[in-house]
């Protein structure tokens, strides 16, 4: 999948850019985007390590397990077959909690560690490491849907542009987020069930 996204985007960009005479911005972007990627990496890595360190303390102190208990009923349904005492399960719970509270910078590093742990869980069950597991797919849907309680960026920018009621979008945002998340999870779970039946037959 990623090879097509990557390859076709680059090819389309070059063809389109040259035909429409956008060669100069195209060149600039080709030379600068990789620098931006490294800047983003530097921006993220400090937080990743800081949260990785704090999470290790929380994990050793049993805090992750405590939080996992709160999410257990729901996540048992979303992640059937994943051991609730595993590292992956605890990290998934922490990631979702951070997302709900709007701590995006904290959620991403925890989420990446969770993916790493889900890979290890897959290896234990003898799965092919190059194929996404059903747990990984559901987890990614949870992260690509917005489950933030308060859309602060949107409200802040609305205020900046002179909105009379910058926060009046909240009910619409919450209803939209919940329905969008449910739709994504439904597709993921239906495909998961279909694949499982195919594999079981």
């Amino acid at each position: 999948m990623m090879k097509w996204v990557f390859g076709l985007m680059l090819l389309l960009s070059v063809i389109f850019g040259l035909v429409t005479g956008n060669a100069a911005p195209l060149t600039e972007s080709a030379l600068n985007s990789c620098v931006e990627a490294v800047e983003l990496f530097l921006y993220l890595i400090g937080g990743m390590c800081m949260w990785g360190g704090l999470m290790r303390i929380a994990e050793k102190a049993g805090l992750t397990t405590a939080l996992a208990k709160i999410f257990r009923p729901l996540f048992k349904f979303l992640f059937p077959g994943l051991d609730p005492s595993s590292k992956a399960y605890g990290l998934i719970c922490m990631n979702v909690a951070a997302n709900v509270l709007g701590l995006g910078n904290a959620a991403t590093p925890i989420g990446l560690n969770a993916m790493h742990e889900l890979e290890i869980e897959g290896q234990k069950r003898g799965l092919d490491g190059t194929v996404a597991s059903r747990h990984m797919i559901v987890f990614i849907v949870l992260n690509t849907a917005s489950i933030t309680l308060i859309p602060q960026t949107a409200a802040t920018l609305r205020l900046k542009h002179g909105s009379l009621s910058p926060f009046d979008i909240f009910p619409a945002v919450i209803v939209t987020s919940v329905i969008a998340l449910a739709a994504g999870l439904l597709v993921a779970l239906i495909f998961n069930a279909a694949d499982k039946r195919k594999a079981g037959a």
Partner: protein
């Protein structure tokens, strides 16, 4: 209003306090955990460079704007404001791109107009799908993502359609 400024310090204090109570060597465990995250992070960097280059060039070539122009009639047909379309197209691809596009939309139309509100709801109710998928799978050896994109894009498209529906429902 800014409750998030309390959450992080309190969370850190809580972790350290519980660590002390449970007799955890908080410094050495922190260093161990941070080191592991650093190795995970370095593993992501090549994917990050590849995808940010592809996204950057796609935007610079003008292809994104062209696609917006093509999709505009269909959007108007389903009651989606054309002014908010560029945001729907960039939202799944680039977080900083979405922020820039959202800023432009609010400059062009009032934040309290229909298009301005729909854009605001979209901004609050969706995430940078492709970026998240790329970065998350980048932390693993996964190359076959199966139905990940299908499920995530279903969620995004649902969010875009319902942003227009809920703004109509709650704010008109």
């Amino acid at each position: 209003m800014n409750y998030t400024s309390y959450i992080i310090p309190v969370l850190i204090a809580l972790m350290i306090a519980v660590g002390f109570v449970k007799k955890v060597d908080v410094f050495n465990e922190f260093i161990d955990g941070a080191g592991e995250s650093l190795r995970v992070g370095i593993g992501i960097l090549p994917a990050l460079i590849a995808l940010m280059t592809a996204i950057g060039m796609f935007k610079a070539s003008g292809a994104l704007e062209a696609i917006t122009g093509l999709v505009a009639p269909a959007a108007e047909f389903i009651g989606f404001p054309p002014e908010a379309l560029p945001l729907a197209l960039i939202r799944p691809i680039s977080g900083s791109g979405a922020l820039a596009t959202f800023e432009t939309i609010l400059t062009d139309v009032s934040p309290d107009s229909f298009a301005g509100r729909v854009a605001s709801v979209m901004m609050g109710a969706s995430e940078t799908t492709f970026y998240t998928v790329a970065v998350y799978y980048g932390a693993t050896k996964v190359t076959k993502t199966r139905h990940t994109i299908a499920a995530c894009l279903t969620s995004d498209i649902t969010a875009f359609i319902f942003s227009a529906l809920t703004v109509n429902l709650f704010m008109s």
